[in-house]
Symmetry: C2
Subunit: 220 residues, 2 copies
DNA sequence: GGGCGTCTGTAACCTTGGTTACAGAGCTGG
DNA sequence: CCAGCTCTGTAACCAAGGTTACAGACGCCC
């Protein structure tokens, strides 16, 4: 847990932090905790109090809303260089978490205690950075609300398939998880897409044959 | 459009502003625009650029996500003393609006230009205020996502009926609008609730007979 | 009182998505 | 090679919610 290399990685990933005052940077180095968590760990969950603000150094956190019946709806991911809007909101509002965060891979976090986070916010540069991420994530959430409230699943699936290259190596189950749905439905819909000539299917693979067609479907 | 009375009302509604530095307050007074809008006006809409930050002095703004087919899902309301998270997010991220704002009643706004809003954020007191509202609204949005993604309509209806007193003067259509659904379904569900003895129905009125039962239904 | 607009009740029907229940395909390690 | 695993295909059935189409109720104004 040497803080110097962590500090280097931190500054590389969050260049905004180089604009902090020397004092703030020292405080960060002194107080922040470097934490290693294996893949699949729940790092926070609904109703928990927020213990600190996480910078993601390596790995990623998948933030989901969990249904009573066990299904999950992904809200967003936090990857190195980003911040977690829900953690910010909980710290700022002194409210408990209202979603769950699970590591997708082995993950390294630098956790900043609550009051140090508040102090960081006093710095113009950091504040702008947090606000910026905030506003991006709000836009994402609005997009998500629009999707779950108004879009049909085939449209959401089409959108999900786009922008990831021409061949996706992924199982139907994983696609279903991304959509908050179930495997059988995704299989059924993929079959439909294949019949329209939009994709070609094989084991653990989806090949995009007609991106424009998919886009049309997704946008409709 | 005299700014003095507007200023008084503003300070009464947003007491946090009394903690601003004199300079910031003067700037506010000098630059902010007092605007009157009648009920039913669309004050901002999807894809529009954000022109300024609105303080609500009187009236209220209903912020909704509009579906392609014309239906609307209410996200939240902005009443006097509150702020609009989407406006903040758009200003901060220099992104266009991603929702629609419609006045519910005749409404008085004090609109602060973009760069003055940015300047205001430099003030600790105002920043804390905006952050605070931010975090509350995020929590609301998370709640909303949970509801539209996981809850059945009867549960959402039950929740909607609670906490508004014992007799609600409201039409089925208005309830449907709040839920982003349609009148027929709300009528059907209300009938169900009435048959369970939870409510009693009459023209433009819903009487809550069994609040505990409704809560149980809503929470399930 | 009669006409009109709003509000409510309700039935038939449809679409979407989820559930249940298997069967078979393909890989992998012993 | 074959036992067992994961992944896929698929059919039957179901529940929720939306759509369409009316009919009657109530209130109001002329």
């Amino acid at each position: 847990m040497s803080s110097a290399p962590a500090g280097d990685a931190l500054l590389a990933l969050y260049p905004i932090l180089t604009e902090l005052t020397a004092r703030a940077r020292q405080r960060l180095q002194a107080r922040a905790q470097l934490v290693q968590v294996p893949a699949g760990t729940t790092v926070f969950d609904e109703r928990q109090a927020c213990q600190g603000f996480p910078f993601v150094i390596a790995g990623s956190i998948r933030v989901v809303k969990a249904a009573p019946n066990g299904r999950e709806l992904p809200l967003y991911r936090v990857t190195p260089g980003e911040t977690c809007i829900i953690s910010s909101a909980c710290l700022l509002g002194q409210a408990p978490y209202n979603a769950r965060g699970v590591t997708e891979a082995d993950t390294t976090l630098l956790v900043v205690p609550t009051d140090d986070f508040q102090a960081l916010l006093g710095e113009q540069a950091f504040r702008d950075f947090v606000f910026q991420l905030f506003s991006e994530r709000i836009a994402d959430l609005m997009q998500l609300i629009e999707e779950v409230a108004f879009r049909k699943l085939d449209q959401r699936l089409a959108a999900l398939l786009l922008g990831k290259g021409q061949r996706l190596h992924i199982t139907h189950q994983q696609l279903a998880d991304e959509l908050g749905s179930v495997r059988e439905i995704v299989s059924r819909l993929l079959k439909g897409l294949a019949e329209q000539g939009l994709v070609a299917l094989s084991r653990e693979q989806v090949e995009i044959l007609d991106p424009a067609g998919l886009r049309r479907l997704a946008g409709a």
